[in-house]
């Protein structure tokens, strides 16, 4: 691994099931993540993915790529365009630096309306 390496993209269909399963698995019962009617009352057109699920998907994207020995050290994300059901998110990553066994990766998750997530991940990959 070296700076400048591009990770292969990971395409994630944003289904209603994924949004609800992620919210429940992260114990997040905010209505906007499972109840479309209440989400609309709050100005959103539909339910949307919670940040914990996005965090989990970003972590998975990195360890999927760096393999079974990869250990996450830091994940920092910022959300933009929400992930609504029916959309597709494509995660892409670029290694921005390598420090011994540790890589720093810039991650972007783009959906149909813009960048859902931008962030940086630090991952250790013992040789």
């Amino acid at each position: 691994m070296k700076a400048g390496d591009e990770l292969p993209p990971l395409t994630i269909p944003i289904t209603r099931t994924l949004i609800v399963a992620g919210a429940v698995a992260s114990r997040d019962y905010q209505d906007v993540h499972h109840d479309a009617e209440l989400a609309r009352e709050k100005g959103s057109p539909d339910i949307f993915m919670n940040i914990l699920t996005t965090n989990g998907l970003v972590g998975r994207y990195i360890t999927d790529h760096f393999g079974p020995r990869a250990v996450l050290r830091r994940v920092a994300i910022r959300l933009g365009a929400p992930n609504h059901p029916g959309d597709t998110m494509v995660l892409t990553g670029t290694v921005t630096g390598v420090d011994g066994d540790t890589a720093h990766v810039r991650v972007v998750g783009a959906n149909g309306i813009g960048h859902h997530v931008t962030g940086t991940v630090t991952v250790e990959v013992p040789r």
Partner: protein, 354 residues
């Protein structure tokens, strides 16, 4: 809603906001002290998480499984039965925000560091500090305050990870009462503002507009009210010093040349030229292109510095010409643009068109 909008306008101008003084006082206060995770770290919750995420990492399975590090916050969640361990400071802050109309919550940022793996059986405790409460911000979702907290998560008393979290407590943006003309250009005309293609929401990216496709309201005060009365009557009025007759624009209480406070007005003929211009590419601001060319909503637009035939200059839009064809010296003529049902603005149309 009225309160929210008024506060929103004040915040956008940087004017004092009484509520903010109270909110800022919460920085540094504890939001949770010695909070206890509702469940110890356990395999079923790990498995349910991995199932939802589609995560097949071998470290999260089998007899020596560790929890996915990104689950850090999940172990601190209140779940359906809610939190019982939050401090009075947290309750007070949220009560203040709720009381001011900022009743909705959306998370915008999460920064986690993982110091040691969490293993089944680990008992979780956590302490949360309110790091900061932002000034009033207007986003595409609505107007509100960002609240940033930092949580230290411990397993068996040992620091296992840190979790910085930012949420927006907001009042949802007013939905437009009926599909307005600019919306017909959108791919999803029935959808509210947050999904329209012209207004791709970026909740962490604040913009000075309460409604995504409406222009900001002018700030009208006693020094410039005459100008806006002129606009309402389709007259572009320029101030003229009552003593030295120097013309001035924009409207000001006194003459910059002689200091006199006496003035009257002259009506501009409407002829002018582009003295200079810039093209706005980012941030995208659909309100400034939607009414001129719906197909280009959200795209670049030109901002012209127009030199009127009378000699004063004003900033305005140049219409009737693509943004990349505006040129210095281009002759333009005044017209009035109805931006929406409440707002009319003087703009300048490139001459020689039509």
């Amino acid at each position: 809603m009225t309160l929210t909008e008024r506060d929103g306008a004040a915040g956008a101008r940087g004017a004092p906001d009484g509520l903010y003084g109270l909110l800022a006082g919460f920085a540094g206060r504890a939001a949770a002290t010695a909070g206890l995770g509702k469940d110890p770290v356990n395999l079923p919750m790990i498995r349910h998480w991995c199932e939802a995420m589609g995560d097949a990492h071998p470290a999260y399975r089998g007899p020596d499984a560790v929890a996915p590090p990104t689950m850090l916050q999940a172990w601190t969640m209140g779940g359906l039965s809610g939190h019982t361990d939050r401090s009075s400071a947290h309750e007070e802050l949220f009560a203040l925000l709720d009381g001011a109309g900022y009743t909705s919550v959306v998370a915008t940022d999460c920064e986690q560091e993982y110091l040691r793996p969490l293993r089944p059986g680990d008992e979780i405790t956590f302490d949360t500090v309110i790091e900061s409460v932002s000034e009033l911000k207007t986003t595409k979702l609505g107007t509100g305050h960002f609240v940033t907290t930092r949580t230290d998560v411990r397993a068996g008393g040992e620091l296992a990870g840190t979790h910085r979290f930012r949420i927006l407590k907001y009042a949802p943006a007013a939905r437009r009462p009926k599909p307005a003309a600019p919306e017909t250009a959108d791919t999803k005309p029935a959808a509210p503002a947050v999904t329209t293609k012209s207004a791709a929401p970026n909740i962490a990216d604040t913009k000075p507009a309460a409604r995504p496709v409406r222009r900001p309201r002018p700030v009208i005060n006693r020094d410039n009210a005459g100008f806006w009365e002129g606009v309402a009557a389709h007259r572009l009025l320029v101030q003229r010093c009552g003593d030295c007759a120097t013309l001035r624009f924009p409207w000001l209480p006194g003459c910059a040349d002689c200091g006199s406070r006496e003035w009257d007005t002259v009506e501009a003929s409407g002829a002018g030229t582009v003295f200079s211009y810039v093209v706005m590419h980012h941030p995208s601001f659909p309100a400034f292109t939607a009414s001129d060319d719906p197909a280009a909503a959200g795209g670049p637009y030109a901002v012209g510095l127009i030199e009127l035939a009378e000699g004063v200059r004003m900033i305005s839009n140049v219409v009737g010409v693509p943004y990349d064809e505006v040129r210095i010296g281009m002759p333009v003529r005044l017209e009035f643009l109805r931006a929406d049902e409440e707002l009319e603005l003087p703009v300048f149309r490139a001459e020689g068109e039509d």
